[in-house]
Amino acid sequence: VNKTKKLTFVAVGVCVVSLSLIFGSGFTVEKDKDYSISEKYSNHLSVFLKKERNAKASKEKLGFDTTTTTNIDSEVKVNFKVHVIKDQPSFVDVTGNGVIRVEKDNFNFKILDSTRLHKAQLGNGNTLIWGPIDGILKNKKGEDDMLTLGITYIPETNQKFITSTIGTMDSGFAAATFGNYDFVSEEMTNIMKNEVN
């Protein structure tokens, strides 16, 4: 009898250990999610990106001057997967690709693995995702350029504002904005400002 008890005890123990190994430390409520977003070109560029060097770079890399152009048929599309990090509510990893289209030109890009975005919950229960999406973009000259999209995005309402820079400081970079930032509330500003990286 004693032996049977012992064996049962060992068997139960083995089961518990195996199950906990299989399921990890618990159930993950949040799952990885795919998003596909797009926004039209907008003319909200900050003054520091409206300099002569940015004019030159944007003509070279996108084929038009983003420092003066107010209206052009252009948009950015980003297809990305948000990878939930275990036990980490404040940021997520991102993979994917996208395109900046300027009239008939498509400048494709791939999202780089260095991308890590911030995530927060707003008072109304909606999600705020923001931060830099790093990419490599094939520019107008057919060359590879560093791309960084600065996104401010609420998935539940599909509201987003996207900044972009193309190129690096040493050789010169272009910049453009997509969408409107009217939805960026004081609450959102406070959250994003308090998050010093």
Binding site: Q88, D93, T148, A175
Partner: protein, 281 residues
């Protein structure tokens, strides 16, 4: 029966321990003596050298020929105030109000032709992957043949003590399969901001991935290292036996961000790459 299981387990343990490559630096102590391999910077804006460094890197190396193993310590600093000046960001108020570090990519790499043939194998990286807000521990070690500010120190040695630095979104390790001579660590330092007149630092103790404009790049590391730690990576690697004068090519890049005041909208942009090629063994 019990004895049999014990025997099997013992043999398995012995076999496994043979299969794991032994690390010559397995004492677990990354401290020690390193040869100074100098420092380097990138000071180009729009194709012109503006004589203001936007990113600074340093490298130190140690090698044990008897074990065919080496260690490389790479460190990088941002230059927030100099970038502000180099991009002439003054006069932007109230449109934008501060410049800060977004992320720092530090890469251990080699373009020595023997690297692709498999002569160089990365064995370990420190820090390792971290998905939480993370304090990169400070270390103390000796720098031999100091290349820094004072030529008279070249034959001497100095003690490097560094503060810890906080990487707020963890540390990400990027590597590609089949390229065991190439590894990038991405840091997200919590380091405050600059507004055109003053640096504002966050956190205690002061965490500085930034090297202030008052300190020339030559002084990066060495005697000022205690205050301005930069971000730091330690790589342990092996070289094939008999490999001499092997070239390592550590490098890095900083992503800055500028944030507008209200509403908070952020632009991110990269410096050019900075690198420092040197030989080991």
């Amino acid at each position: 029966m019990k004895f049999k299981i014990f025997k099997v387990l013992t043999i398995a343990t012995i076999l496994i321990s043979f299969a794991i490559p032994q690390n010559a630096f397995a004492d677990g102590d990354p401290d020690g003596s390193y040869w100074d391999k100098d420092r380097s910077y990138n000071s180009f804006i729009d194709g012109n050298d503006v004589s203001l460094s936007t990113v600074v890197i340093s490298a130190k190396a140690t090698y044990k020929p008897s074990a065919n193993q080496g260690r490389e310590r790479i460190r990088m600093w941002a230059r927030v105030e100099q970038v502000w000046n180099a991009l002439d960001l003054n006069g932007g108020f109230p449109d934008y109000n501060n410049l800060s570090i977004s992320k720092m990519n530090l890469r251990f790499y080699s373009r020595d032709s023997r690297a692709t043939g498999g002569a160089l194998q990365i064995l370990a990286n420190d820090p390792v992957e971290e998905t939480n807000s993370f304090t990169v521990p400070g270390l103390a070690y000796t720098i031999l043949g100091y290349f820094g500010d004072t030529p008279s120190l070249i034959l001497g040695s100095i003690e490097a003590k560094i503060n810890s630095i906080k990487s707020n979104s963890g540390v990400k390790v990027l590597s590609e399969s089949g390229r065991n001579y190439d590894k990038t660590l991405v840091f997200y330092p919590n380091d405050g901001w600059y507004d055109g007149t003053k640096n504002y630092y966050t956190g205690q103790p002061i965490e500085k991935a930034d090297l202030p404009a008052t300190i020339p790049f030559r002084k990066a590391d060495g005697e000022v290292v205690g205050k301005y730690s930069g971000v730091d990576m330690l790589i342990t690697y092996s070289l094939d036996a008999g490999v001499k004068a092997f070239k390592l090519w550590p490098q890095g890049q900083v992503q800055y961000k500028i944030t507008t005041s209200s509403p908070a909208l952020t632009y991110y942009f990269w410096t050019g790459a900075v690198w420092l090629e040197h030989t080991v063994n």
